[in-house]
């Protein structure tokens, strides 16, 4: 893949400082992370649970500032949240008191885009994720998988250049998970943008990623970068190449040592 670099993470290390009744605790979460994210690639960040991948995503999103290091978008340092970066959260986190449509159109609404126009955008993505007909439903009336789809549509409606996805299918059952993986690939094919996808599931990583960055246990560092551009998508998870790649990665992970 010869695309230019969209996002670069340079020398990022992060510590959390917690103040616990006169006790100060320093938790080392990330250690010297250096990653280049190429334009329009589907990049997967893979690592054992609780190793710090979510923290890295939050750093990219600008929700927290790294202790040391820099994150650059299109060559410029970003500080705080940026309209070019959007996010799909682990728990969907769609607002329970708003309808599906109101949730999806939230970003253009805050960008002061007129109602008609933003409804059109929102509707396009609602259709794209397959939730046509559910616009007026409330979150309590739809299933977990559907809620996650709302989250995805919402992130897309913000018209971002980079989409961050934080283990979006982690809370779903296996069946729904497989079908959502297929769906996200379809959406990505139709509307190609840069995606940074976090997961702790090797199969999911091999199914979705153009490149996979393997992290160690906490404090997370980059262990290995795998390039999967050789395997054509959609990938057959029973094919020889798939299984070979999976075994290669699996033998390298810290996962069993949790």
């Amino acid at each position: 893949m010869g695309n230019r670099i969209k996002l670069s993470i340079e020398g990022v290390s992060h510590y959390f400082v917690t103040f616990n009744k006169k006790d100060i605790q320093k938790t080392h979460v990330l250690e010297n992370v250096n990653i280049d994210v190429r334009e329009n690639e589907f990049l997967v960040l893979l690592g054992p649970g609780h190793c710090g991948k979510t923290v890295l995503l939050n750093l990219i999103a600008g929700l927290i500032k790294p202790t040391v290091g820099e994150i650059k978008l299109d060559g410029e340092s970003i500080s705080g949240t940026d309209k070019r970066i959007s996010m799909v959260f682990q728990q969907a986190s769609i607002l329970p008191w708003k309808t599906v449509m109101e949730n999806v159109e939230i970003a253009p609404k805050y960008a002061d885009i007129k109602r008609e126009e933003r409804r059109k955008t929102a509707q396009y993505f609602i259709d794209l994720v397959g939730l046509n007909g559910f616009e007026k439903h409330y979150p309590r009336q739809i299933s977990g998988g559907m809620k996650q789809r709302v989250g995805i549509a919402r992130a897309y409606s913000a018209n971002p250049e980079i989409l961050l996805m934080d283990e979006p299918f982690g809370a779903l059952d296996a069946q729904t998970r497989y079908s959502m993986e297929g769906e996200i690939l379809k959406i990505w094919e139709k509307d190609k943008r840069t995606v940074v996808f976090v997961t702790n599931n090797i199969e999911e990583a091999v199914t979705l990623g153009d490149r996979i960055i393997l992290f160690s246990q906490a404090p997370a560092t980059v262990k290995e970068v795998y390039d999967l551009c050789g395997l054509k998508k959609p990938r057959d998870n029973m094919s020889e190449e798939f299984l070979k790649m999976r075994d290669l990665i699996s033998s390298n992970t810290d996962m069993l040592r949790e």
Partner: protein
């Protein structure tokens, strides 16, 4: 097997009536006889009918009820407005909180009822002191709950508002307040039972009309049936208001059942 469970179900269903029956008979037993010190249920009922016709202390029964209810409703209403405003100020403006929260916490442990003598010295025996006390007593739980509700917006919603660039007011309207409503309503519920306690105490201690006044009046003039009527009325109205609040809660946050 089927027969056993049938008997079991029937006896369970009967128990509530059984216990009420025992309660009533106990009441009758204690209240009967010539040297009875408390009225029987029948006595109470008769007194009630009498009360419907003849006023006590120049005031009809409806007026007594109305007076008490007004005090509670006005007091609660004001407390809701002040409490939510104060709680929001505490939660959203750190400087305000730093300066005034310690003072608030200083006043907090003093029971509202302890204020009754001081308030009667300042404002006399009218409507204002009673309503003032109810406002004071109810503002505290509402403020605390509003403060907690607003400052404890779940991280996930906070992140959503940041990533999608909600403006300050957008954030308050779309994220902060809706997620704080359940806590606020819990505060109002707590305030409601406080309100009745406070109102009752102040009416019992110094008033010329109202349900609390009736209780004391009945006690002073050896007319216990009157006191009991007042008690029953208070219980009924209190339950109704509490039911009303639950209904309101369900209407305001239909999504709460799902989050739970």
């Amino acid at each position: 097997m089927k027969k056993r469970s049938f008997i079991r179900d029937v006896s369970l269903a009967v128990l509530p009536f059984f216990s009420i029956a025992i309660f009533l008979s106990l009441w009758l037993w204690v209240a009967s006889g010539d040297n009875a010190i408390i009225p029987t249920p029948v006595d109470v009922f008769n007194r009630f009918i009498l009360f419907l016709r003849t006023p006590v202390s120049k005031t009809s029964i409806q007026r007594h009820v109305w007076v008490s209810m007004c005090r509670v409703l006005i007091g609660m209403g004001s407390a809701v407005i002040i409490g939510i405003a104060l709680g929001a100020l505490f939660a959203l403006i750190p400087t305000f909180r730093s300066v005034f929260m310690p003072l608030f916490n200083m006043f907090r442990p003093i029971p509202p009822i302890a204020w009754i003598p001081l308030v009667t010295v300042w404002f006399g025996v009218g409507e204002f002191p009673k309503i003032f006390l109810v406002v004071y007593g109810c503002t505290v739980p509402i403020t605390i709950n509003t403060f907690t509700g607003i400052s404890m917006v779940p991280d996930e919603f906070d992140y959503v508002s940041k990533v999608f660039h909600a403006g300050k007011w957008d954030r308050l309207r779309d994220v902060v307040f809706p997620s704080a409503i359940p806590a606020i309503i819990a505060g109002i519920k707590a305030a409601l039972s406080s309100a009745w306690m406070i109102l009752l105490s102040s009416e019992m201690i110094s008033a010329k009309a109202g349900l609390g006044f009736l209780i004391t009046r009945g006690s002073d003039s050896n007319d216990l049936a009157l006191s009991m009527i007042a008690m029953i009325l208070i219980g009924l109205i209190g339950s109704l208001m509490s039911l009303g609040l639950t209904f309101l809660e369900r209407k305001l946050c239909p999504w709460e059942t799902e989050l739970n």
